[in-house]
Symmetry: D2
Subunit: 326 residues, 4 copies
């Protein structure tokens, strides 16, 4: 057993138990496709908007380009951005346009989870079952997610954001947690306590948890940022993620959960509870550093957050350019 | 001469004159890369956030998929979204993951201006010159826009939005303007007057102009939505776009300006003034219909608007999922 | 009943009967992945090479570009070819290379069946079964065709080619068959007879059947070349395709079989017999016109043919640049 | 000076001198776009076809997939192959097709030089000039190579192939040359001598030079196969490449020339002479091992070779699936 009571040899049993305790299947009806976004209502948006005091805005997106963290795991490559026309043709005057107008245009090929993104509810399954008790193959086929595609969240993800800077509270002098550091409920609550009232977490909130992993990658190079060891949420936080009734949660890591995972042979077991059972939206590879520095400076850890994913029809995850405003 | 004083035979002269009257080159220094986003400051964000009264949110994005308006003009195809893994493999149990976890994952290939998007400042040139007096070929090469790439706007595009529903004020019973309808300053001002004080337009605002073109396409099919005839801004609005000191402007059409353009042989002449000379951010293919219906219902035409493009490094335009909150 | 004895109302029954008569399942062992390519042996290659008399070569490939026949059906778009570097950067001297060297480089995004291609054995299934009695889902998943991927044919498709120019023999003065013209065994045999001994068809041959459909598209524009009406093989040729023991067959049409198909409600029923049951390789969108003109001129209808598909691992079809040499 | 007389400090001078000695500009007229393919005529094809004695065929292509050598240098990633439909949907019966037919279909995104390929004449420039004295920017723009695009070679690259297995003749017991081994004219001639008369090299031949580099990568993993150290042609072979009047040359390495290059600061200087000045077609990443083993076994080093690139319109390089037949 680990300190959190996990039997390292039985991830399947742990997942099953946590799933049973925390299932939201049927909570919002058998047709529900929104999961925890049901918690994010108009009142929460009013509460969030009221947090804009200075008008300072913060981008929480990494850039999308060929120099990002992906290393090709399961065909997740870096984005490749190419041009259809450039300023050079415009200068040369060969574009065929009249009256001196010239243009540049571009295309991109990218895995939808190559950089800052939301996982949709069709991204992860448990024993072939998707969120709300649907068969995985009835939800996501080669045509995409026909039920809970990311476009079904359009316009919803805007509300009160809260930053828990666990890296600063529980990490080293640079505000970074070591790889393999499992963030437990105790760490989360200690961080809330350290930050004060603006960091309270509850129903409908969009929670951001900073580990410092991205800050280190920025300093040292990507290395194994994508898929390698990292601090992250402990599997033992599953009940807390459910009970707090947050609408979504995002981290500055590739995989949200602690890696290596807390079982002998496992792969992202907290995802297996959070997405198909809780119906929770998980954000990954967010850049929380500038916002965190500001929160540390002024002591205010909540803000207005807009984080609408690009509505690629049927996507099981999607790029997002989140903006926090304080 | 047209009613607006345009000599239909001389788009090049008209562009040159409008460019001279409205140039912002050097206004924010020789190194400036933000253009009219300089107008959008923290005070404006505070003003915008204060407009959130009900907490109602509206997505202004079209979906991104193979059924969109692009028809392949200059290689601008529809997005192609494909899966790397699906729920079917998860059900079949062939994904090679432990403890019953399964996953779906996806990629997309798309022109960056295939659906709801912002034009970046490197998208359009005038006689081989880009915004702020740079040579087009020094700005945008095959490697992308190395100076004013869309990622340089990260976090900035959040503030007060204003909807001018010209379709409802000047259009038919369905609230739609006919193709070729040139929206002039008179139409814009009449719409402000009809909407009332909440529709005032000024420095730092993000202006949305609805023509009804998308509503028609939704009803009748895309047809020539991409590149064909449409209502849109008249070339004669160039000075107004400059003088109002708006931070950005978006429409529900493919091309922002009226089409056919108001000269005998022309292609998007207002772009040629607005982007390289004014440094104005143009949004295209936004879906303004649900928001417009709400504004018509409650009579309030301003709101909080967040519209951060996906920061594809070096992009001259980028997908955006704008969210308005009232 | 149609003249060929088809019950137009029962494609499923017709497919089942033809499949039963012509199945090659197990013929080359339960592990076989090559189907009719088993007929193409070294003796056949010697026979083919001996047909090179003048050394005249003919490309049978259409180009691959944005101006091709695809119209987006089931996400089959045209190829999009973009540049990573161009001669303009090379001239400008901004590529960062030493001693005056400059370079251009490029990428492509394309459906593998966007232009001249071979269908692999994993392309078509009958009631969920693939070639040689395998379950379709055991063969082709999101990871591609793990059993009969096109790369398994590497090096094999080179041998004796035979052109049957049915368009010239049975068509109009321009050598073109009308849309909906079903090429029957009688037409094929009459064409062999008209062409003479060089057009005999047998075991291991690579058969090319020209309808004239591409010639018309070249003259009139693509129109519905991709998926629309066309001359093509009759469903009633299934037994002949099996009994002749050809190694592969290609046409100048999008879909190989006559379209509309010869049943009231059907989709490519001959594929359903030919690929999963006969294990026959089908080529589509080949350009046979220059070769056909030469064959008409010299009366020789067989030649050395090399048509190795690009070995994209796991592909169910692949681009090919076939070369015939006489 | 190096043994070959190279001044390691002056690649630019060496390139200029070699270019002057070996230029083919104007040799086939000012409009020529084929370069050394002009040497490959019908007589050569007859000679090549006569070399087919056994009918044994050899694929010289590597596979195209996510596990290849590219590492993302200048956005040259590995191919990403994804499915539009799979056997799983076919089994499930959800594809919407009648009478039990099911299908799989696929797309690919790939750099055109990600695997086995031909360099086109627009791939490399010398001081902003392309083959036959054209300005690089007049040849290759964002729209591709409008003059010497790879599609202009359609049908031509089929003739007599010759393998010089320098790895076996001059390498270690495994038949491999060490990294940095510069293959000189002496090595080439010694290899011809060792192989005997079937290895003679002359006008119109397609020459294959094996270093053993791919065999090592196959054994040890890709490592720096793409762009790292390797055996390859010495810069000093430029005159020989010109004087032999070969039609094309291909190797089993990433970059054709020895790497590191033979100057202190250089990048692919032999390309700079061979492509724009000689107009020579260079093949890279070919898999010569199986063919080489056969040649070593039977002592015959010439054969029929077909190597037509996929005619992507405007491509400066293109995938090819070469087939040799003996």
């Amino acid at each position: 057993m680990t300190p959190g009571g996990l039997d390292r040899t039985d991830p399947e049993g742990a997942v099953a138990a946590a799933a049973k305790r925390n299932s939201n299947w049927g909570r919002w009806g058998t047709d529900d496709i929104l999961g925890t976004l049901n918690f994010l209502d108009e009142a929460k948006r009013r509460e969030g908007a009221a947090l804009v005091r200075r008008g300072a805005s913060f981008s929480l997106a990494q850039t999308f380009d060929a120099d990002g963290p992906p290393k090709g795991w399961r065909r997740r490559t870096n984005p490749v951005h190419t041009m259809l026309d450039t300023g050079l043709e415009a200068e040369r005057g060969t574009q065929g346009f009249p009256h001196g107008i010239g243009g540049a245009d571009d295309v991109v090929f990218m895995p939808l989870q190559a950089s800052t993104q939301w996982d949709g509810l069709g991204h992860i399954f448990d024993h072939g079952m998707a969120y709300n008790g649907r068969r995985a193959g009835d939800v996501v086929t080669s045509e995409g997610d026909k039920v809970t595609g990311i476009e079904t969240t359009a316009g919803l993800i805007a509300g009160r954001g809260v930053l828990l800077d666990v890296g600063r509270v529980a990490g080293d002098a640079a505000g970074e947690l070591p790889d393999g550091f499992a963030i437990t409920v105790e760490h989360l609550e200690a961080t809330v306590a350290a930050h004060g009232d603006s960091a309270r977490v509850g129903r409908g909130d969009l929670l951001l948890v900073r580990t410092g992993r991205l800050a280190r990658a920025r300093r040292e190079g990507w290395g194994d940022y994508a898929g390698g060891p990292s601090a992250g949420l402990s599997f033992t936080t599953a009940d807390w993620l459910h009970d707090t009734e947050i609408a979504g949660i995002a981290t500055d890591t590739w995989g949200f959960e602690v890696r290596p995972n807390e079982f002998d042979e496992a792969f992202q077991p907290l995802h297996q509870v959070a997405i198909p059972h809780i119906g929770l939206f998980l954000g990954e590879m967010w850049d929380l550093d500038a916002l965190a520095a500001d929160c540390a400076a002024d002591g205010v850890h909540d803000f207005w957050l807009t984080a609408a994913p690009i509505p690629v029809t049927g996507a099981v995850g999607a790029p997002v350019a989140p903006v926090a405003v304080k």
